[in-house]
């Protein structure tokens, strides 16, 4: 079936009233989440995972993808009005968005931001639609050695791109892999690192770990900093809808931001923040008013906003086609798929074709729904900014605690929630990113399995990774990435010392 016919079939399914309801609900929730500072899409989606026990997969996935889209778009509103990003991916938007708001042009800034998000998001979903099938075709040729090599590429990229230290990134991945080895060994059935606890024989539950790391960890980090937000939320002045001239003037910035965000999104573990940072830096360099960036230039809002929504489509590509999450949020979507007994990867497109294309098609609809909801209800959403953290954070704790309890109806899961929350807090305080840890946790078992299966195939010889062409190319890519990172760091070191 061609991509167009698959998309049309998917759209027909999306426009059934129940699916449409979840698109709108997810878009609305995502906008609320995106507006509230300190609560990213990852934490929100993690908290809602237990709802998946009651809902069929299409409803849950549609809703969560819509939340992802909504949060990425709405983060700009907080950045512009409060000079605090609503989501990590909206950090750069504040640099020009808030100065615009100070000049009484908050409405225009939000309008450009939301519109850029819509265009960036739409183009990236088109990319997802047309690139996923060719990638599936390649991935179907993968055997255990190729999968092992892909995972090593993913770990290498995540370690080198996130944070300032590749060493810390690798240690984070190792921590995740260590956690993934707890439980019964998949090949032999022997218990590993269970310390006699029957509870750990099935391993660490991804749902509990995810809610603990993202939701509880977020709350505890916030508690440590306890920043009192500036209550002077700027007024929403001026028209929200940009003029035709203003819109046309930012089109090149939107296109550049989209391309950068999309590519950044594909890189495992990088998420929206990397794309927005790079797109802002590039835009500042190439734009004719580049030297005025930071004073309130519309392109300084358009480019990063296009990039952060473009990263959504990009991040979904490796997750859906290869089972490698492109961001923290797509890592959680992977957990949701596991919960339904679905394995992300090329077989998902073959065995669950209707579900996959319904979800992809729903992204177009949710992208549009977010645009319309924001423009229609913006003054109401601005009021949400006034919710105080001392009443919001306990709600997140409440949802998280009850949520993890519903997984197995065991109090032990609540204790694990605290453990993972404290782990995430400790990692953040020590300057370690949690994304490599999550990648290691989710992919650790698959990496080990693919390695051990490769060894069985090759009767113990490592040559198998180098004699199979795709595996060889991927491992060569690992070396290129490492050398590039070393070169880049040395160059930075020389610049600093000069």
């Amino acid at each position: 079936m061609s991509v167009i016919s698959s998309l049309l079939t998917g759209l027909l399914a999306v426009f059934q009233i129940n699916n449409l309801l979840f698109v709108v609900l997810g878009s609305f929730i995502g906008i609320v989440i995106g507006i509230l500072p300190g609560l990213g899409s990852s934490a929100a989606i993690a908290m809602l995972i237990p709802l998946g026990f009651a809902l069929p997969p299409n409803y849950t996935l549609i809703m969560m993808c819509a939340i992802y889209m909504g949060a990425m778009t709405a983060g700009a509103i907080t950045s512009i009005l409060l000079n605090v990003p609503g989501t990590p991916a909206a950090v750069m938007t504040a640099l020009d968005g808030h100065p615009l708001a100070l000049k009484g042009q908050a409405g225009k800034a939000i309008g450009i931001g939301v519109f850029s998000s819509f265009v960036g998001g739409t183009l990236s979903i088109i990319g997802l639609s047309f690139l996923s099938m060719p990638l599936v075709g390649i991935a179907l040729k993968f055997g255990p050695p190729e999968y092992f090599s892909v995972f090593i590429v993913a770990f290498t990229i995540a370690s080198t791109l996130i944070g300032k230290s590749a060493l810390k990134g690798v240690l984070g991945v190792f921590l995740g892999i260590i956690l993934s080895t707890v439980g019964s060994d998949l090949q032999t059935g022997v218990p590993r690192f269970t310390y006699g606890l029957n509870l750990l024989l099935d391993g660490i539950d991804f749902v509990v770990a995810t809610i603990g790391i993202f939701a509880m960890g977020e709350v505890l980090s916030y508690i440590v900093n306890m920043k009192k937000l500036d209550k002077n939320i700027l007024e929403l002045k001026g028209k929200v809808w940009p003029t035709m001239i203003e819109f046309l003037s930012v089109i090149p910035s939107i296109i550049r931001g989209t391309i950068i965000g999309f590519i950044a999104g594909i890189l495992p573990g990088s998420g929206g923040a990397l794309g927005t940072a790079v797109s802002y830096a590039v835009e500042k360099r190439v734009h004719k008013d580049g030297e005025h960036f930071g004073e309130g230039i519309l392109a300084g809002v358009a480019a990063p906003e296009a990039a952060n929504n473009a990263s959504v489509g990009g991040a979904l590509i490796p997750m859906m086609t290869l089972g490698v999450p492109g961001s923290g949020t797509t890592a959680i979507l992977m957990v949701v798929l596991f919960m339904y007994g679905l394995k992300p990867g090329p077989l998902l497109f073959i065995e669950q074709s209707t579900l996959v294309w319904t979800v992809i098609s729903s992204l177009y609809v949710s992208n549009l729904a977010v645009l319309l909801i924001v423009f229609l209800m913006l003054p109401i959403f601005v009021k949400i900014l006034k919710i105080q953290s001392e009443y919001l954070l306990p709600g997140i704790v409440l949802f998280s605690a009850v949520g993890v309890y519903t997984v197995h109806s065991l109090p032990a899961d609540v204790y694990l929630l605290i453990f993972f929350g404290l782990l995430a807090l400790a990692l953040r305080q020590l300057g370690f990113s949690i994304v490599p840890v999550i990648l290691g946790l989710l992919l650790g078992a698959s990496v080990e399995q693919s390695f051990r299966q490769s060894m069985i195939m090759s009767r113990g010889s490592f040559e198998i990774f180098f004699t199979r062409p795709i595996s060889l190319i991927l491992l060569s890519l690992v070396i290129v990435i490492i050398l590039t990172d070393i070169y880049r760091k040395r160059k930075q070191g020389k610049l600093v010392s000069n």
């Binding site: 026990f53 009651a54 190792f174 508690i223 440590v224 001392e390 300057g431």
Partner: protein, 163 residues
């Protein structure tokens, strides 16, 4: 504390990797089954490489701190600063959640959840009356969501005469 964050982090990681390595020796290697890679070999590899990388990170961080101290500059963000009020808040919230898990089945969902919300909100500086009202509202909302929609049986505890 004289140690930088990276030094402390790398030290903790080293200890973890060492503990993991030593624990891996208690994994049974099945003699009845022929496998190319035994179940303890991958963990041991991860642990050994992890120890080496932690040691490298520690060495690099130590060298950097010594060089900064020698030059007379201080990078405050690298230093470990123990914020006692923050630690107390984190510990208090964690303790409350722990007690919630421990007493959840005994006291019941409704009462324990209201108290969870109320106490955490007060710890974070909320007014008790407002917190109580929001706590009751959210508890009921979550009850409807999880009990009626998902069909999870939430314990009634002390209110078993009602539910």
């Amino acid at each position: 504390m004289r140690m930088s964050k990276d030094e402390l982090g790398s030290l903790l990681f080293f200890i973890l990797m060492l503990f993991y390595f030593l624990s891996s020796f208690s994994i049974m290697t099945p003699s009845f089954m022929k496998v190319a890679i035994q179940p303890d070999q991958v963990p041991q590899f991860i642990a050994i490489v992890g120890m080496i990388l932690s040691a490298k990170l520690f060495y690099d961080s130590y060298k950097k701190r010594k060089s900064i101290e020698r030059d007379g500059t201080t990078e405050k963000k690298e230093e470990i600063v123990i914020n006692k009020p923050a630690l107390i808040r984190v510990f208090s919230v964690s303790l409350v959640v722990f007690l919630y898990g421990w007493l959840f089945r005994t006291i019941g969902y409704i009462i324990s959840t209201i108290f969870l919300y109320l106490i955490v909100s007060i710890i974070l500086g909320g007014e008790w009356k407002k917190s109580l009202i929001i706590g009751v509202f959210l508890s009921v909302l979550v009850f409807v969501l999880f009990s009626e929609l998902i069909g999870v049986n939430l314990p009634s505890g002390w209110l078993s005469f009602i539910f």
